[in-house]
């Protein structure tokens, strides 16, 4: 039994209910809860709700509403986070409804979707919220029945006093429980007593998704709402010079056309602000199609950003061909040492064999299926914002600063997000919507076209890596050197594997400046490291005449038993665990005959994943027959959803490695829609994916990112087996771009 200090107080939830009331003029309810059962009719609404803390309320009939604190982006937290609360509360999942919580920093911490951290960092708080409420219900029953609280047990939403034979549903005690003082300490369940965590529960928004109910930001509607779109500079390195809106304004349904500035001149940018296009032209009208048509009639003059620009943006128009040259030059001339073990130079001098390979990857656009959009209703003294954002807390600050309102006068509601992959960490569109609403004095829904979205920036950086390995005469890996950089950031994680497993190790990084805006993209850095490093290790194993899994396991054994250096940031035993499991499950040692197989493993965002990819040749084209995945993310909260996330990451990883990339000509992205920018499609996905989890009782870690990177390496290694070619440059399929 674990006891934890509670951090909930009465004030916080009272505030929460005031916010939830909101006084919003919506044509349909955004706060309608999601039901956990396929037949919502099983759930009758109670006459009264009693809030036991900011995370949950209990109805007089025993129904339970659990708030899901974090933004839902498709990672399934709207189901899995409430599952954790429900388990500690000890209720039947059938009687749970889920509501998306608004941004409320008084109650919730880290309301952010990013870094695969929602479950990991939410774990203790969510358990505590459920356990606290359960404790209060037990205390209420003890008081009512005049028995010691320790004698009161619970099961599936019912309180029992075995000695006297008394029992009562949570609903009967909820009113009394809500009057009690929040306990200072509560007991948490033993892991073996979990009844909901570790069982598969379906997506709580599933019924709404498959029937087309409004859920997403783009579906948002309010009385008197108008539609806005923006026109941004066509190239990085350009800014607005002037515009003539005469023709656009004369188009049917158009209300206004004007320029907007995203930030005040004296504003100090924070990390989630984007600075490439800070002056835009906004078109506002009655309907989306009318605004789209008027946008075509805009006459805008853009000009190059001057050398002495106040934004500190590098000047000039960039081209893809120069990008790779610049990275090569920077790698050779301006690399900085990030980690050194032993004497790598000497190891390479003494080596019997040196293997040296270079890997590159292009810029990539996030392309979530729901284009950027946001709703804003800005009044003189209050602003409501609603829509898809991964960073409500950060963007609330930017919006408040831009509008000159105190934080408490800016309310942010989170809608379900049609994907994000990092794109919605950067909420410039929230600020733009707010500025437009302020100007037109009306509720506004800002919508980006796909072209606006794909050419706006915030791309996955372009990357470049040089790997070198030194083998001695007995084919032992005696030296390892990685020199890795990007535009504009290096993806290097100097203390990750194989650091710690090689005596002589050198890691260096470099970076190249750019005016193209970039940002976090699913598994930042790792999304390149894994494919480069894991492809390289495959070649090294081959050169050493070793089995690629055994080669990695030997290194990990070294890292476990006698690690080099003290700051290796991975657990070698867990790393080896997923490799061993995938070896067994794929029948690597017994069932590889005649198969073109590749393996890879990677650790990022606190979880470990290994893959085996099987490729068959069909009419000369490689077909991905099967992908095996072994995952160690500690306790698996919602197993089938975790399988889904892993399957999706595998498809996504294969797609981006094979097909996706963005090129530039004179500062302009050369792809701006799905006719030119290739994403993986149905027939290109693996025919079968088999996912296994390492079973343990370690506190859970995230899954939104960890299963994404390694499959790319396993794919490259399997392709080599299938056709004898190594893949050094992404995308692997060369005719994918433009």
């Amino acid at each position: 039994m674990t006891t934890v200090k509670t951090k909930l107080d009465r004030r916080s939830f009272i505030r929460s209910s005031a916010l939830a009331g909101g006084g919003l003029l919506l044509t349909f309810s955004w706060l309608a809860p999601a039901c956990t059962t396929d037949s919502p009719k099983q759930l009758t609404m109670p006459d009264e709700w009693y809030e036991l803390n900011g995370f949950l309320k209990i109805g007089n009939n025993g129904a339970v509403t659990i708030m899901s604190p974090n933004p839902e982006i498709g990672q399934n937290v709207k189901t899995s986070m409430p599952m954790i609360v429900a388990d500690e509360l000890d209720v039947d999942w059938k009687f749970v409804m889920v509501e998306q919580a608004p941004l409320n920093t008084d109650i919730f911490t880290r309301q952010l979707a990013g870094g695969s951290q929602s479950i990991r960092q939410g774990w203790n708080g969510l358990r505590m919220a459920g356990a606290t409420a359960r404790r209060m219900l037990r205390e209420a029953a003890a008081h009512e029945w005049k028995v010691p609280v320790d004698e009161i047990t619970t099961e599936a939403g019912v309180l029992y006093h075995t000695v006297s034979g008394k029992e009562a549903g949570y609903g009967e005690m909820a009113s009394a429980a809500a009057e009690l003082t929040v306990p200072e300490e509560v007991e948490l369940k033993d892991i073996k007593d979990f009844t909901i965590i570790g069982t598969s529960r379906k997506n709580v928004d599933g019924p709404k998704i498959v029937t087309g109910k409004p859920l997403f930001g783009l579906d948002y509607k309010a009385e008197g709402m108008v539609i806005a779109m923006i026109e941004h500079p066509p190239a990085f390195g350009m800014k607005l010079k002037s515009f003539d809106a005469t023709e656009a304004k004369a188009m049917p349904g158009i209300i206004d056309v004007f320029a907007i500035k995203t930030y005040n001149d004296d504003y100090e940018w924070q990390w989630s602000d984007i600075t490439s296009f800070t002056e835009l032209v906004a078109v506002v009208g009655k309907s989306t199609w009318e605004v789209m048509n008027a946008k075509l009639m805009l006459n805008v003059e853009w000009e190059p950003i001057a050398e002495d620009n106040s934004q500190g943006v590098p000047v000039g128009f960039e081209n893809t061909a120069d990008h790779y040259k610049k990275m090569e030059e920077a790698a050779a001339n301006s690399s900085r040492e990030r980690r050194r073990d032993g004497n790598p130079e000497e190891a390479f001098r003494k080596a019997a064999k040196v293997i040296e390979r270079t890997y590159t990857a292009p810029f990539q656009a996030h392309n979530p299926m729901e284009p950027m959009n946001f709703f804003a209703d800005v009044k003189d003294d209050f602003a409501l914002l609603a829509g898809p954002t991964q960073t409500p807390e950060f963007m609330e600050k930017t919006v408040a600063a831009r509008l000159g309102l105190p934080l408490e006068k800016v309310d942010v509601q989170m809608t379900r997000m049609g994907g994000g992959f990092g794109r919605r960490l950067y909420g410039h569109f929230m600020v733009e919507a707010a500025v437009i609403s302020q100007k037109v004095k009306a509720p506004v829904k800002l919508i980006y076209s796909r072209e606006d979205d794909m050419s706006y920036g915030i791309y996955r950086p372009a990357y470049h890596a040089l790997y070198r390995a030194a083998l001695d005469a007995d084919n032992n890996l005696i030296g390892f050197h990685v020199r890795m950089g990007g535009i504009p950031d290096s993806p290097l994680h100097a203390n990750r594997f194989p650091a710690g497993s090689v005596d002589n190790y050198l890691a260096e990084s470099f970076s190249v400046d750019t005016n193209i805006s970039t940002g976090a993209f699913r598994a930042p850095g790792s999304n390149f490291n894994a494919v480069a490093e894991q492809s390289f290790l495959d070649e090294v194993a081959e050169a050493a005449g070793k089995d690629p899994i055994q080669f990695r396991l030997d290194l990990l054994k070294r890292a476990q038993e006698n690690p080099v250096g003290s700051n290796n940031d991975y657990d070698a035993a867990r790393y080896a665990g997923v490799l061993e499991q995938v070896r067994e499950k794929s029948g690597w040692d017994t069932n590889s005959e005649g198969k073109s197989r590749g393996v890879a493993a990677y650790f990022c965002h606190n979880s470990y994943v290994a893959n085996v990819v099987d490729i068959a040749n069909k009419d000369g084209e490689p077909v991905i027959e099967k992908v095996y995945a072994s995952v160690d993310c500690g306790i698996v909260v919602n197993p089938d959803a975790a399988v889904n996330m892993t399957e999706g990451s595998i498809v996504d990883g294969i797609g981006h490695a094979m097909y996706s990339g963005l090129t530039f000509s004179e500062g302009q992205p050369e792809q701006n829609n799905f006719d030119m920018y290739r994403l993986i499609r149905h027939g290109e996905a693996p025919k079968e994916i088999e996912v296994h989890f390492v079973e343990n009782n370690i506190d859970p870690t995230g899954l939104g990112e960890p299963p994404y990177p390694p499959v790319m390496g396993a794919l490259a290694n399997a392709l080599y087996k299938a056709n004898g070619e190594r893949y050094y440059h992404q995308p692997f399929v060369k005719n994918s771009i433009g």
């Binding site: 396929d38 982006i73 498709g74 990672q75 399934n76 379906k202 997506n203 599933g206 019924p207 998704i209 498959v210 029937t211 087309g212 109910k213 409004p214 859920l215 997403f216 783009l218 579906d219 509607k221 539609i227 049917p252 309907s287 989306t288 199609w289 009318e290 048509n293 392309n367 979530p368 299926m369 729901e370 284009p371 379900r416 049609g418 994907g419 994000g420 919508i447 076209s449 796909r450 089938d640 959803a641 889904n644 996330m645 399957e647 999706g648 595998i650 498809v651 996504d652 829609n673 799905f674 006719d675 994403l679 993986i680 499609r681 149905h682 027939g683 996905a685 693996p686 079968e688 994916i689």
Partner: protein
């Protein structure tokens, strides 16, 4: 502007819009049927798929003046209670991640099953090629279509 009488989900709807307005925006902006999604605007992603006389059609390039009295079905009208075999299969297989493309996937699959009630894996892949799922739920979508076809 012009008035159009549209047959959508078995009901008559009157809208007064520019004749070049795509059905996507007629549905979303004028009739509040927002289950049909905007993804690309150029018929490359399939998020906006509806049925026109039972045939899967990209509503983002289907102009309102081309529809006439044809029967339009959107995700909201695929079944009365969300219990079309495809909707049930989608829940059963717990397909969605972000969920945004899924109404288009379901409608495209409905068009497929109308034309071919028991498609092979290859036929499913061919028919669904135009529907992008950025979350990568393709393997589950295929399973759900087969589950629905077999039910």
């Amino acid at each position: 502007m012009a008035v159009f009488n549209l047959n959508i989900n078995g009901k008559q709807h009157e809208v007064d819009v520019d004749p070049s307005t795509p059905m996507l925006w007629v549905l979303r902006d004028h009739l509040d049927l927002v289950g049909t999604k905007f993804g690309c605007g150029i018929a490359q992603c399939g998020a906006c798929t509806i049925l026109v006389n039972g045939v899967a059609t990209r509503s983002c390039i289907t102009f309102v003046d081309s529809v006439g009295d044809k029967e339009i079905t959107t995700i909201e009208g695929l079944s009365e209670n969300g219990d079309h075999p495809l909707q049930k299969a989608w829940i059963e297989e717990d397909v969605p991640q972000c969920g945004y493309c899924q109404s288009g996937q379901i409608m495209n699959a409905a068009g497929l099953l109308n034309a071919n009630p028991s498609p092979s894996d290859e036929e499913i892949e061919m028919a669904m090629h135009g529907n992008i799922c950025r979350c990568g739920t393709y393997t589950r979508i295929k399973k759900a279509i087969k589950t629905a076809a077999n039910s």
